[in-house]
């Protein structure tokens, strides 16, 4: 199983999820729509407050950058027009990581996938489902979801997020690449990760099916 997910684990949050993927464990808590501070209010959309906390130490600019990337993604996937002048607060806490500090791809990947489950748990309106995959090129070989030690020796690594419509990967929502690679390599990676994303989506469906059944266990 690629993901191990637990949802609804925090009683104070509207939606929460804990995700383990490879050697990375992350916890996301989402609350909203709630009353915003005056300076956060947007007149016709919901505003997003994203806080990322590292697995050790205090937040630095590294976390700010990750927040920005996650915001780019979530701003276009949450139907913010449904909640004008409200706030959606998302807190991401990394618990266990398996890459060195210079790399952020495994963490970002885990955070994106965990946010999906937390958004589902919080029952917020989304335009579509989404799935994220990490790919790295290691001496010419394409490797998906690599562990930290392989990442260090890779030529390039990429975080790719697709939106899923009708169970098929449809649009590219987010792409971050680091390292040396050719245009041809990039297109190969994009082609190969599409099927991986669709496989992961089937797993997402199974997990959500189990969650919904649990929500209505009393019926």
């Amino acid at each position: 199983m690629a993901f191990q997910v637990k949802t609804s684990i925090l009683s104070n949050s509207d939606g929460s999820a804990e995700l383990i993927i490879g050697g990375t464990k992350v916890l996301v808590s989402i609350s909203g729509p709630i009353e915003p501070k005056i300076r956060q209010e947007l007149p016709n959309q919901a505003s997003l407050d994203i806080i990322i906390r590292p697995y050790k130490g205090l937040s630095t600019t590294r976390e700010k950058l990750l927040e920005d990337k996650l915001r780019q993604l979530l701003q276009s996937i949450i139907i913010r027009y449904k909640y004008p002048r409200q706030l959606i607060q998302i807190v991401v806490q990394f618990l266990i990581i398996d890459e060195i500090e210079e790399f952020t791809c495994n963490e970002l990947n885990a955070a994106i996938n965990c946010c999906y489950f937390a958004l589902i748990d919080a029952d917020l309106a989304l335009y579509s489902s989404f799935v994220s995959v990490v790919a790295c090129i290691n001496s010419g070989n394409l490797l998906l979801n690599p562990p930290g030690d392989i990442l260090i020796n890779s030529d390039s690594h990429h975080v790719i997020c697709y939106n899923i419509e009708n169970q098929k990967a449809n649009k590219l929502l987010f792409l971050e690449s680091d390292g040396e690679f050719t245009e041809e390599t990039l297109f190969t990676i994009l082609a190969k990760t599409v099927s991986e994303a669709e496989t992961l989506h089937q797993e997402q469906r199974k997990i959500i099916q189990a969650k919904i059944e649990n929500d209505y266990i009393w019926k």
């Binding site: 919080a122 959500i208 009393w218």
Partner: protein
């Protein structure tokens, strides 16, 4: 009527709206401009029913955060006042809704309820626009102030809907076997519950020692009702997480301590 799991992004099988009179419910979003017009936005069980030339489509899902809708019966806590309105909070950290000072049955300028912060009201949502402040009123029968002899607690929204709208719901019927109770259910996930007389705030003890015997009796029924209420609350909170066949067992466990 078909029902199946649906996720955001899935294809929505909906009949042509030019031929069917369509009603969409929670979880279905209508794009103002582009095609396809309707998409599912929340995960849950899709319910789609068509009858002659009408169709109804919505998604049944669970959540914790309540979003006000017109004609919903809700329980709120008064947290302040602004102008001619009370500010009522329907859920922790949500934007408060407004309750007009006069929106009570038979209220006049001289004769209207004077509510303090922390008091609980049962009302109906009247204005639910997402762009402006929402409002509730307490004019209908059964609405108004809920006194502080009952206990207020939170449950998940889907469970609250089940308790309020399903007349054959097994949960309250089972509870009735154990104790007499009064209940008010808010669709915002808040429930006000009182067994027997609930809790009476003790009147300042007077110097009069003659009444001591009477006080003892009142005290013991007071405690009994308090215990029963707390046990009933525990039962309802736990009932959300167990299957129906384990329900009786949960009920017995909750009331075990009280019945001694």
């Amino acid at each position: 009527m078909s029902s199946s799991l649906i996720l955001p992004g899935d294809n929505l099988e909906i009949e042509d709206i030019s031929q069917y009179k369509t009603t969409i419910g929670p979880g279905i979003y209508k794009f103002p401009t582009r095609e396809p017009k309707f998409i599912p936005t929340q995960p849950g069980i899709l319910n789609h029913s068509t009858q002659s030339n009408k169709q109804l489509i919505y998604i049944e899902s669970n959540s914790k955060r309540y979003i006000p809708h017109k004609n919903d019966l809700v329980i709120g806590i008064v947290v302040g006042s602004i102008g001619e309105f009370y500010k009522v909070q329907l859920q922790d950290f949500s934007t408060p809704v407004l309750l007009n000072f006069m929106s009570f049955a038979n209220a006049t300028k001289k004769n209207r309820p004077n509510l303090k912060n922390g008091q609980v009201v049962y009302g109906k949502v009247t204005v639910d626009s997402i762009e402006i402040e929402n409002e509730i009123e307490c004019i209908d029968e059964g609405c108004g102030v809920l006194d502080d002899s009952g206990y207020v607690f939170n449950v998940n929204l889907n469970f609250a809907r089940e308790l309020l709208y399903d007349a054959n719901s097994i949960f309250l019927k089972l509870l009735a076997n154990k104790c007499q109770f009064e209940i008010a259910i808010g669709i915002n996930g808040k429930i006000w519950l009182k067994c027997g007389e609930g809790v009476k705030k003790e009147v300042k003890e007077s110097e009069n020692k003659e009444d001591e015997d009477d006080d003892m009796d009142i005290d013991s029924t007071n405690v009994k009702d308090l215990k029963y209420t707390l046990a009933a609350v525990e039962y309802l909170k736990k009932a959300q997480f167990v299957k129906q066949d384990e329900l009786k067992q949960v009920l017995n466990v909750c009331f075990k301590n009280v019945e001694n």
